[in-house]
Symmetry: C2
Subunit: 145 residues, 2 copies
DNA sequence: AGGAAATAGTTGCTATGCATACTAAATTCA
DNA sequence: TGAATTTAGTATGCATAGCAACTATTTCCT
């Protein structure tokens, strides 16, 4: 078996390529790919807590804190202590953050279309299902340790 | 379209999970996932240059240089200026690096088996083909910019 | 031959990912 | 009720990913 035959390596390299492309696409909006993920969640529902976002994105809370801090610096979001739970930090879009949505969402759709060009709906579904199986396998392997 | 519906996000999250798992598996060998990729290439062919490795792994030469430096510190490889091309740096396994192979390769095969459990040969081939299409699409999008 | 362009590496910067250790607030439960 | 536990965040350190700018060779081309 050769290095490039491991499926995890192929997935990794595809991901790197995608990330690199998305990074380039988002540069004009002054957003990094991960910062964009947070913004996308906020556009769906404003006022989410960092913890909520970390769970949704399956990310470490440390990273979410850092990214939220960056987004605050860029003035796309405002951070405020939670109303019910004083420990929580809620993220609220600023006007500037809201304006971004109008520009970024179409770009994301366009990008998604470019990536999936020539790939049928069935093929995409199959891809999603196989990735889901891999996810499940890894989760189960982790639990067994 | 929701955040989690973009295929690139699903690939990204699967990759993160896989990387996290591999990192854990390799910890006992004092290897990180990316350092392991370099070792795997050297086990296939000793004396590769950093540039060769960067191309094979589709990685930035900066990273390869740094990872090679780490591997040298851990005494798994030795670095030497290329014989023909004085600019190039070739990586050679040490005895310790060679010994690693006996332990790591079986672990990698075992891990790959765990990840692909319950996924048919056909399904895996389909996954590879779809990922290849995505790779191609991204490459072409990048060229058009 | 010799200057221009390409190539291989290195260093420094920013952003991420994840682990550990810590604080403070909320919840559980004896 | 009040101590123990859980939960949300923060700080720090290491490994990775990629960009930009730089040096040192090598190759190309006139």
């Amino acid at each position: 078996m050769h290095t490039e035959d491991f499926i995890s390596i192929m997935i990794h390299q595809t991901d790197l390529k995608l990330t690199s492309f998305i990074k380039e696409e988002l540069r004009v909006f002054n957003l990094t790919p991960e910062q964009n993920l947070i913004m996308m969640l906020l556009w769906e529902e404003d006022g989410r807590t960092q913890n909520d976002i970390a769970r949704k994105l399956q990310k470490d809370k440390t990273n979410v804190a850092r990214m939220a801090s960056q987004l605050e610096k860029k003035q796309f979001v405002r951070r405020a202590a939670g109303t019910q739970d004083q420990r929580a930090v809620q993220l609220f879009m600023t006007d500037e953050g809201r304006e971004l949505q109008e520009k970024v969402r179409p770009a994301a759709e366009r990008f998604n279309a470019a990536v999936t060009k020539g790939i049928s709906r069935n093929e995409l579904t199959a891809l999603e299902q196989t990735l889901a199986k891999i996810n499940k396998n890894v989760s189960e392997s982790l639990r067994e340790e």
